[in-house]
């Protein structure tokens, strides 16, 4: 059946199981939007800025595990997606971003609203395509989705010129796709798996270091099973939170720059680190020359470039995390006696770890007069649904959420780790809520980040997305202020945002509800009132102004040189 390129594109999305897209119309996508008007299979949500649209597709992908889809017009629409694309790239999120482009004959001519978006996003996309002919739309989209979701996931950009959208063609969706240069290795080598289990059973102070890859690879179940079977303590990165239940006694919590004392000490004193879907990022390792001085390292990852990039690795295993962990469980099952001996011999190590947990637990000084941000996080934990999805913006509040909320399930924390993008919180929650209309979705933001995509209040109200927005307001750009306090003699250069904003009035302007808490006694009632609302809600909490995120590993220090009190 003959149809135009725009319609073919939508049929491709439908074939790929896409039911929701976030996009913003414009001149070079008006044909696509004309087809969308009557295309019932896809729900289109209009954000109020393309950056938010991209973050929403990102949040959708993080929450569901499916490929998020965003649409923008050419020129400024496309450039507005760059931050969103880079955010997804750094955290390996599967996404397809479709940008309109000027007609093929005008490409390279400095046409109206033309940019070389492929050139601009080359360093921050997993791959990109320019569709030059209506015949190529289907195979391009098949490839784009395959690349986005396979191996180490990532954002793929598809540039779609206007004349190709208007051209007529036949729609045939290919059965399969074969890309000569892209064959990710998903199956862990059985001999490497054998060696890994043997190394674990030979160790005395093992620790599992779990990253975002365990969440992206849907490996929480085999991970939890294996960790419990071996009785090995588990620490996760910010991106790995939820892959292993923090309620488990063997959970050490988050490690790294603002990680728990016990987690950082365990890494430093370990004799075997089992890295699972993690990349030894600088926020985690501290000074590389003194990182884990006594540990052998097993590194399990689907991306070979992550292995041996920053640290020397004794046993690399390239493969899908779920596949490798499942094989390790079978292997461990064959070693009954040695396993029992191994677990008994771990007693001194578990006792060391308990000691560290007791010595410096994650904590804060409660106050009866000022609201402490950590207290708000604890209360949110207590009063929120078990399967609530939490998104954060970026800054101190993000770290406090990671430290105090306690995540037990994967895909319940949506946070920009790699790029650290302010303005991520609200739109990513929007995307998650669109994916799960019946689940409680809460975004925790600072007063800085919330203003970067505040216009999305309109999207929430128009589309009936009842996101619960928590603003921890200290009238500061908190994380930068903390560094200025610790390292720049409190010279608060451009971090003070004194202007008081009436968030209740702001919510009302958009047709939403707002609540304000100014004293510790208000916290519980404000949260309860906010959660009870059927629509989107802002809950503002005026928090202590100069609270610090601790512990902290200062830049250039070793992982065990944490500042515990300041």
């Amino acid at each position: 059946m003959k149809m135009n390129g725009a319609r073919i594109m939508l049929e491709c999305l439908k074939k790929e199981g896409v039911d929701t897209v976030f996009g913003y119309p414009g001149g070079t996508v008006i044909n696509l939007y004309d087809e969308l008007f009557s295309f019932k299979a896809i729900r289109h949500i209009l954000p109020r800025h393309e950056q938010a649209g991209t973050h929403a597709a990102d949040g959708y992908a993080r929450a569901t595990g499916r490929v998020g889809v965003a649409i923008a017009t050419s020129g400024p629409g496309a450039t507005n997606t760059v931050t969103g694309i880079a955010t997804a790239y750094m955290d390996s999120i599967p996404m397809v971003i479709i940008t309109g482009q000027v007609p093929t004959a005008l490409i390279g001519n400095d046409a109206f609203q033309e940019v070389d978006i492929i050139g601009i996003t080359r360093p921050c996309t997993k791959h990109s395509f320019l569709i030059r002919d209506v015949k190529d739309i289907a195979i391009t989209m098949k490839k784009a989705f395959y690349i986005a979701r396979s191996g180490r996931p990532g954002p793929v950009l598809v540039d779609f010129p206007k004349d190709v959208q208007m051209a007529m063609g036949e729609f045939h969706y290919p059965e399969s796709v074969d890309i000569r240069g892209y064959k990710p290795n998903l199956s862990g080598h059985p001999r490497q798996v054998e060696k890994a289990v043997a190394m674990i059973l030979d160790s005395q102070r093992p620790v599992m270091y779990v990253g975002g890859g365990a969440v992206l690879g849907d490996a929480a179940e085999p991970l939890t099973q294996l960790a419990r079977k071996l009785s090995v303590p588990v620490t996760t990165t910010l991106m790995g939170l939820g892959a292993f239940p923090e309620s488990d006694p063997n959970s050490l919590g988050m490690l790294g720059m603002h990680g728990a004392y016990c987690a950082n000490m365990a890494m430093t004193h370990s004799d075997l680190i089992i890295a699972i879907g993690a990349r030894f990022d600088d926020r985690v390792t501290g000074k590389l020359s003194t990182f884990a001085p006594h540990a052998k390292i097993i590194h399990i990852d689907v991306d070979p470039t992550s292995i041996k990039k920053n640290v020397r690795v004794d046993l690399p295993i390239v493969g899908d995390v779920k596949d490798v962990l499942t094989k390790m469980i079978s292997q461990a099952d064959k070693t009954k006696e040695k396993l029992a001996e191994f677990i008994t011999a771990l007693t001194p190590w578990h006792s060391d770890i308990s000691g560290w947990k007791e010595k410096h637990p994650i904590g804060y000084k409660q106050s009866s007069t000022i609201i402490k941000p950590q207290f708000v996080i604890q209360k949110l934990r207590e009063l929120s649904d078990d399967d609530a999805i939490i998104s954060t913006d970026v800054g101190q509040h993000q770290m406090w959420t990671a430290q105090f909320f306690q995540f037990n399930k994967p895909r319940t924390l949506l946070t920009s780790g790699g790029l650290g993008t302010m303005g991520f919180g609200l739109p990513s929650a929007m995307g998650a809520q669109a994916a799960f209309p019946d689940r409680q979705v809460i975004t925790i933001c600072g007063d800085g980040g919330i203003q970067m995509n505040i216009q999305e209040m309109a999207t929430l109200v128009q589309n009936k997305l009842p996101v619960k927005i928590v603003i921890l307001n200290n009238n500061f750009l908190g994380m930068v202020r903390q560094w200025q306090e610790l390292f720049f003699d409190k010279r608060y250069s451009s971090t003070c945002m004194e202007l008081p904003i009436d968030y209740i009035k702001l919510a009302d302007a958009y047709g939403a509800k707002g609540f304000l808490a100014t004293k510790p006694g208000d916290v519980e009632s404000v949260i309860k009132a906010g959660f009870k609302e059927k629509g989107p809600v802002i809950m503002e909490f005026k928090i202590a102004r100069e609270e610090k995120v601790l512990p902290m590993v200062p830049a250039g220090a070793s992982l065990n040189e944490m500042v515990l009190n300041a």
Binding site: R122, P123, H127, I147, R180, G181, Y182, P304, T305
Partner: protein, 163 residues
């Protein structure tokens, strides 16, 4: 340490750019770069001379392999390849220097491809080290212009890159 890497790539638009961006974005050096189609349909072969220690070289190989349009990375750093380069050299030559230029050209089995009363233009091919050599000898006479292609490399033995 210099390394020569050959990369077999899909001849799709933007692939050269993506490789160049990979190198510049991660701070890898490109000492020279040469690219042209191969005997196989839709494939091109790119030869890159880069420099770095063993850890950097491993990262370069892995990052290149990760790119979607790259089919194979051939690392010729272990000396298992034959390397060749072509240079076009315009050298000033008057009076006594003219005979000296001809002697050097003869020694290196190069060719004269252009001649004027004041200059010779020479075509030289060979291992890059040989090209360095002829340039060093010609330098005192006055090099007016030097155009080098950068190295290309091919593995020894009967097998092609694909077996």
């Amino acid at each position: 340490m210099q390394h020569t890497i050959s990369v077999i790539v899909e001849n799709d638009f933007g692939v050269l750019s993506r490789i160049a961006t990979l190198f510049s974005g991660r701070g890898f050096n490109i000492d020279s770069l040469s690219v042209a189609p191969t005997n196989e349909d839709g494939l091109s072969r790119m030869t890159i001379v880069t420099r770095g220690d063993a850890q950097i070289l491993e990262q370069i190989n892995k990052q290149l392999n990760k790119l979607i349009d790259i089919l194979k990375v051939l690392d010729f750093s272990d000396g298992s390849a034959i390397e060749r380069e072509l240079a076009l050299i315009k050298v000033a030559a008057e009076d006594d220097a003219r005979a000296e230029v001809l002697r050097i050209v003869d020694i290196f089995r190069a060719k004269i491809i252009d001649v004027t009363p004041k200059s010779y233009t020479i075509e030289a091919t060979g291992n890059p080290i040989k090209i360095d050599g002829i340039l060093e000898l010609l330098r005192p006479l006055g090099l007016k212009e030097v155009v080098r292609t950068g190295a290309v490399a091919i593995g020894r033995g009967a097998k092609g890159w694909n077996g």
